[in-house]
Subunit: 345 residues, 2 copies
């Protein structure tokens, strides 16, 4: 059972599944901590100069555009104080890679700016482990950054490359397109409700959805495989309905969504209907790809999913009429009361 | 007279010299505030897609490398709560442009991630005014970003382009090179001492050095003009001695610095010698270029300074022996007790 007063679980491993050995505390200055935890030589083609000068130098391959995205993570808004440092390191990079995935870009490098109240070697060792484990899985380099004292704040900027004119945009959806989503939606929100104590989850169920919240898997390979197939794409970070709205407004279209078709985990599927709807439609923090493709490319979408190593589900279609229409299994429209997550609401 | 208890000066204008009209307060959500204060269409060649999709797309010109730098600004560390929003907007971008200047890169675009406790339209209007005034002066676009609730934190990432192989690095200084610095050093630190109440400054003297602290001018044109002339460069942000040390270690050389030659403002030159030394040698927040060039390129350096619109001063020379030797007007060595600013010290 999990309630809002559950203490941090020291048993939860990093996103790669391994525990990091705790290190002895020590006093480190700014440059020493950069050297100790973050200095690694660049190995990636496309990175001409990494960490340690005034600027990093990137050289995208000929004919490539550079895709750039930045996300800032703040304690209490994007992660809980109970999160393991390994998982926080993973998540800080993962949510940024998810933006590259939504553009179909191949990751190249990233920068990290980090404000923290004090130099905590145990935190930093774990954070760096989770960060670099994910970076290595995607073959990318940390090419620069900044560290300062201050309230805990993580700002990552990622760089990817995409053939000129091939980036997946939000603006390409057309009436008649099929609407797809990768993976499952809603587990991260269910975990948050578990932390808040508003739902009671069995231990292994909680660990499963907590992992979804703390260890999102950016759909980079899927995004790249969808180049030339998808007509529009976005990653689901602020909640399905809100993020779908970005595609619809940019594309000047509407959508019909079949609620029963929306993919959810077995854990979420055991929850009350009302909670399932809330989590799936407005949960946020999913980092799955929401995308559209012409119906004629249905099989190409399935092939891209196989290449991307993740399941995809057709959940509706794009229509000319503006707005989002969510229908139940009988085809009856549900009242639309969900909107995207607003950090200031 | 200025002491630590001096209230914020409402009379201090923005860095461009103009006051912004205050705006009525209002409740704005995250997307509305982005739209209202930060949405501008990209106009810069090299920016294929700006704000509003998952990623921005940059296309450096053929043969160009992309220079990238990121800096995070935290209240109390990088700016005081009394700073005018216009000046804060200017400074957040200026300190990043200074890194591009130190590489000799031509600015292209930037991203902004912004955490703030609440949506304050008066703050945001002023901040955006100062930010975009400087951006427009350099012809660059805001191409992406993130906003979130949280303790005030500004993270800017800048992008510039530089011909492949032409970036100014920290590693190129050679024995016999002359050592140069642009502008004057130490005023920002003197202003900080004024705010702290440890020195007493006349009103207009305080305004002058406060302007140096709050409105640094990135030496972008000078940096570009020094391509092919300077052998190494860095911007002075953490204090002269510490930043010089970065060049010396990277280049495997030492330096002899003539204290009397180091450029300082008339306001600083009226202060006690001991304070002058502290401000000039270890002040920080100067954002001047510190660079080396072969003695044979002396005239080329002066020509670059004219092209860059800023004065430069020869303050010493690079020597084979490691370490920094600071000498007074009589050639006697001063004890070296200055080091760079460390955010965690």
């Amino acid at each position: 059972m999990t309630t809002a007063t559950t203490p941090p679980s020291p048993a939860a491993p990093g996103c790669a599944g391994a525990d990091a050995p705790p290190e002895a505390s020590a006093t480190l200055g700014e440059f020493a901590l950069i050297e100790r935890f973050f200095a690694r030589a660049p190995r990636r083609a496309g990175v001409a100069l990494g960490n340690g000068d005034d600027c990093a130098l990137l050289a995208p391959a000929a004919g490539m555009q550079l895709a750039v995205s930045t996300d800032m993570l703040v304690e209490g808004r994007h992660f809980l104080s109970s999160v393991r440092p390994e998982r926080l390191g993973h998540k800080a990079l993962a949510v940024n890679l998810s933006d590259l995935a939504a553009c179909g870009a191949e990751p190249l490098a990233f920068t990290l700016a980090l404000a923290m109240p004090r130099v905590d070697p145990v935190f930093l060792a774990g954070f760096a482990e989770g960060l670099f484990a994910l970076a290595e899985r995607h073959g990318i380099d940390l090419v620069g950054g900044d560290t300062t004292a201050g309230p805990l704040n993580l700002c990552v900027t990622v760089f990817g490359q995409v053939p000129a004119g091939s980036a997946l945009l939000r603006s390409g959806a057309r009436a008649g397109d099929e609407l797809w989503v990768s993976g499952t939606l809603g587990d991260a929100r269910l975990a948050l409700e578990g932390f808040r104590g508003s739902v009671t989850l069995a231990g292994e169920d909680f660990e499963s959805v907590r992992r979804a919240m703390e260890c999102p898997q950016p759909r980079v390979a899927l995004g790249m495989a969808l180049r030339g197939v998808a007509s529009a794409a976005i990653d689901v970070s602020d909640g399905f309905v809100g993020d779908l709205g970005h595609i619809l407004r940019r594309s000047g279209v509407g959508a019909r969504v079949e609620l029963a078709a929306m993919p959810r985990s077995v854990v979420l599927a055991r929850q009350p209907q009302r909670l399932q709807q809330e989590c799936v439609l407005a949960g946020g923090d999913d980092y799955e790809l929401l995308f559209t493709a012409p119906a004629a490319r249905h099989d190409a979408v399935l092939a891209a999913a196989r290449a991307g190593g993740v399941g995809v589900t057709r959940i509706g279609r794009i229509e000319a009429e503006a707005g989002v229409r969510i229908v139940d299994a009988q085809g009856a429209a549900l009242p639309l009361r969900w909107h995207g997550y607003d950090h200031f609401a």
